[in-house]
């Protein structure tokens, strides 16, 4: 995108106040993740003080957990992991989904049939159970969680991209490229793909949110990576002491809620700004 395009985009985007608020929150969370090492230089797993200290006591802003770890530090460091998992899983899912959907939509015929049956298959399997299965098989680690989330998320992207490719491949500008003798690959990547980026970005931004939720669900069921601090980990670790130390579970839960909320708002903002047809509605 050029600068003028960006400026145009921003003009449209900022008309949606809640989206601007979402962006601000998200920026704050990213800043938190980026500065985690500055404000909380210690390992977030470090036993920093008296276990189960309530918020604002014992030097713990948001309290400490059952081992005396700082919940605030955990949230700050966990932000990085959760955002990273959300982002990477989404990128993988979007990449793969776009590949499958793009090929299916562009070529049609038996390729479409085959790829779409495969997609359907993945949509027919109960997705969360499948994610659990994958993590269990690959053993809980941040990589396997990312892969599992991506595996259950890509079909939605594939369907979306297929639809876009289907409609775009018959657009005249694409046909013009055919008449110029352009290769399929270049048409797909250079001509069609840029034109379906908007819906992909919108869907992708919402998928980041979903990925964070899935990660927390997996952690809740005990399938998180035990070596890496994430919000899901905090909740999984805190749920056992939920009734006696509400803060251990509540603050990471709120962090997830706020982040997912912010991402959703940003996604809606993207949608409004990128989708001119809906623009007038707000």
């Amino acid at each position: 995108m050029t600068r003028e395009n960006l400026a145009h985009f921003w003009r449209l985007y900022r008309r949606n106040y809640s989206a601007v608020a979402g962006l601000a929150i998200l920026a704050a969370i990213i800043a938190l993740a980026a500065t985690a090492h500055f404000f909380f230089p210690d390992d977030p797993f470090k036993l920093a003080g008296r276990p189960m200290s309530p918020p604002a006591t014992g030097g713990f802003l948001l309290g400490s957990d059952s081992l005396g770890r700082d919940v605030a530090a955990g949230i700050a460091h966990g932000a990085k992991t959760s955002l990273l998992i959300g982002l990477v899983a989404t990128l993988v899912a979007v990449g793969f989904g776009a590949l499958m959907g793009g090929l299916a939509g562009y070529y049609g015929g038996w390729i479409d049939d085959l790829l779409m049956r495969t997609t359907e298959m993945f949509q027919t399997i109960p997705s969360f159970v499948f994610a659990i299965l994958l993590v269990a098989i690959m053993k809980p680690s941040i990589e396997s969680i990312v892969i599992a989330i991506a595996v259950v998320s890509w079909p939605a992207v594939a369907r979306l991209v297929r639809g876009e490719f289907l409609s775009l491949r018959n657009r005249e500008f694409v046909q013009a490229c055919h008449t110029l003798g352009m290769s399929d690959l270049r048409i797909m990547l250079g001509e069609i793909l840029p034109n379906c980026l908007s819906p992909i970005i919108v869907t992708g931004s919402l998928m980041v949110a979903t990925a964070i939720l899935i990660e927390s669900g997996l952690s809740f069921l005990g399938l998180g990576d035990p070596n890496i601090m994430s919000w899901g980990f905090l909740i999984g670790a805190g749920r056992t002491v939920l009734r006696s130390a509400w803060w251990v579970c509540t603050f990471p839960g709120l962090a997830i809620l706020i982040t997912v909320l912010a991402i959703n708002l940003v996604g809606e903002g993207f949608n409004d700004a990128l989708n001119p047809r809906l623009r007038e509605r707000r």
Binding site: L67, K139, G222, N227, T240
Partner: protein, 609 residues
């Protein structure tokens, strides 16, 4: 479901796996001495109140035994039975009479937690914990054991051991019928022991190893013919350990595939009615129970609630009355025990004696050096683990043997390398002296720590250890896998460096301790044995001697030597002695009338509603 989503249980040990006794049981044959164990440390007024009541019950029981001319008999006494004169008769005691209701109220539905849902109810096939919670209410054994581990009559009204110890004659109760109406006879005993327990039960082949034949001179007499004397066999006749099963429903089938597994028919106080998978198993009062007037309860329901918080909630608002073996997480127990309607006890686990520990692969660096293992033992704060993860329930380990063995004189005090509080400086010094020096980043060694996948607590423990060992320069990465993966890794592939685990030490070290250390216990593919692959000929001979030594003092000395060696070598570092908790609604009365605790029949339990 294998555990992982579970939080907060101190252990769901039996829930997850059977008692890993193995063939070592056999060796109890020659163990002399008194083996009474008392697992619980007694504190807190609430428990005391329970005990007071239990004492009354016990007194009553004992009295009735005495009245019948059957003296108080310790387990040790039974074990040395062959030295006793002639034979020992215990006369028919129909317990029912002496238990005529005083305050007991009949009726009501008793709901208890069974966690996780058992795979089946075939207690003759598996010693799996959840089966143990349900099946003994349906099936009965020949004997039962009181809270001091003395045998009391069950399906056998009396037994007699011949002078040479090679013949044991059981006189069976009369008028006992199976739940389907067929009479219970000596043929059932013969079939159960010979065709079922000695063939398909995990421990049966050992318990009944010496049984060559069972003769049935009449319907109410079963004569066990033994190749060698086997007094330990008389400890293994409880409903939990050796349930009597109906011959007419199993004969001619493979017991492993029989329908009985899911539709049990026993002689016990409660009849199996239905099992809603994923919800509950329902047992109703056996109206034709041979103990007249019992049971008091109309109905017993075992509920399966996978989520620990929800289990606590259900206990809290009275939807369930009873949860044992850590069904309620310790953190919630701390809260619940303050409530007026909830009681908590550590009783009922006398026979299992659990200890948590770290197993090391002693064949590969860095843990092939005993010094590294010592340093780890020094660097871990046992009291921290107990206080913060198990919420005060537990006792720091001080030796390879649990302090519960103090009663039998086997436990040795003052072993080195077992501090209750961490001693980081000492740990570092040990490493420095051994030449395990830190690199530029301060890292002396790094390794993966595997965690037993039986609940959140172990993950917390692992997270703590990662920090604690980081302090002495041992960089730890945690690994938490599901049960089958973990079992395979540790016991079949030996693909690990250190592993957090817990074992039952059982009432005698031969049963629960030897399996960690003996060279003969390096058995690839068998779970819960010497996965450290520690092999020390000197220790092997001491273990052998300890198993056969009859004299209590000499045996104590042998075990002191064993503990000294192990305190230096530490192929396994014991962390702490675990205490399991039973949480119950105070409406429930008389639920702890046998040594088996939650694995008991609950025939005398009643609800005060």
């Amino acid at each position: 479901m294998q555990a992982k989503e579970e939080g907060g249980q101190p252990a769901r040990p039996e829930a997850r796996r059977g008692e890993p006794a193995s063939d070592a049981l056999l060796k109890t044959l020659t163990i002399p001495g008194k083996l009474t164990t008392s697992a619980a440390t007694r504190d807190g007024t609430k428990r005391r109140e329970v005990e007071a009541r239990l004492d009354i019950t016990r007194a009553r029981e004992t009295r009735s035994n005495r009245d019948a001319g059957f003296g108080r008999l310790s387990l040790g006494d039974i074990m040395t039975m062959k030295k006793l004169i002639g034979g020992l008769v215990f006369a028919a005691v129909l317990v029912t009479g002496s238990f005529a209701a005083q305050a007991q109220k009949a009726g009501g539905t008793f709901v208890f937690l069974v966690q996780p849902e058992p795979p089946s109810l075939a207690s003759y096939l598996s010693t799996s914990g959840p089966i143990g919670l349900v099946a003994p209410k349906i099936y009965e054994g020949l004997l039962d054991y009181d809270t001091d581990l003395n045998p009391v009559p069950a399906l056998a009204e009396s037994f007699e051991v011949s002078e040479d110890g090679k013949t044991v004659t059981f006189k069976l109760q009369k008028g006992v019928t199976w739940h389907d109406g067929k009479p219970f006879t000596s043929a059932d005993v013969q079939f159960t022991v010979m065709e079922v327990l000695s063939k398909v039960h995990p421990r049966g082949p050992n318990s009944f190893r010496e049984v060559t034949a069972i003769e049935t001179p009449d319907e109410h007499t079963a004569v066990f013919k033994l190749a060698n004397p086997a007094p330990y066999m008389l400890r293994a006749l409880s409903a939990y350990e050796s349930p009597m099963v109906p011959k007419h429903l199993l004969e001619g089938q493979d017991p492993r595939n029989a329908d009985l597994a899911n539709n049990p028919v026993g002689t016990g106080p409660f009849k199996f009615v239905e099992w809603k998978k994923g919800q509950y198993v329902r047992l109703d009062k056996n109206e034709n129970y041979w103990k007249e007037g019992l049971p008091y309860l109309d109905r017993v329901v075992g509920r399966f609630i996978p989520d620990a918080s929800t289990r606590t909630a259900a206990m809290e608002n009275g939807e369930v009355h009873y949860g044992a073996y850590g069904a309620i997480p310790n953190v919630d127990v701390v809260r619940l025990r303050e409530m007026d309607h909830i009681g908590v006890t550590t009783d009922g686990y006398a026979m299992i004696n659990p200890v948590s520990l770290i197993e090391f692969d002693t064949t590969r660096p860095p843990f092939d050096k005993p010094e590294v293992r010592q340093a780890i033992s020094m660097a871990l704060d046992r009291q921290f683990l107990i206080d913060n993860i198990w919420f005060g329930y537990g006792k720091p380990a001080t030796s390879a043997l649990s302090t519960n063995f103090a009663a039998t004189g086997l436990y040795a005090e003052g072993m080195p390398n077992y501090p209750a509080k961490a001693d980081v400086a000492a740990a570092k010094k040990i490493l420095d002296d051994a030449g395990v020096a830190p690199d530029a980043d301060g890292v002396r060694a790094s390794a993966v720590l595997d965690l037993i996948p039986y609940g959140e607590d172990w993950r917390r423990a692992g997270e703590y250890m990662k920090q604690a060992l980081g302090d002495i320069g041992i960089k730890v990465e945690l690994r938490y896998e599901d049960v089958p993966t973990w079992l395979k890794r540790i016991y079949a592939d030996y693909d690990f460096r250190m592993n957090v685990n817990y074992f039952y030490q059982l009432p005698d070290p031969v049963l629960g301790v030897h399996r960690h250390y003996g060279t003969d216990q390096i058995r690839q593919g068998t779970h819960f044995v010497n996965s450290s692959r520690y092999s020390n000929p000197k220790l092997d001979s001491l273990l052998a001697a300890g198993a056969t030594e009859a004299d209590a003092t000499k045996r104590g000395a042998i075990y002191k030597d064993i503990q000294s060696i192990l305190a230096e070598d530490l192929p396994v570092v014991n962390l702490f002695e675990m205490q399991f908790l039973t949480v119950y609604n105070k409406k429930l009365k008389d639920h702890e009338t046998s040594a088996l605790g939650a694995y008991g029949s609950f025939e005398r339990a009643w609800l005060d509603e």
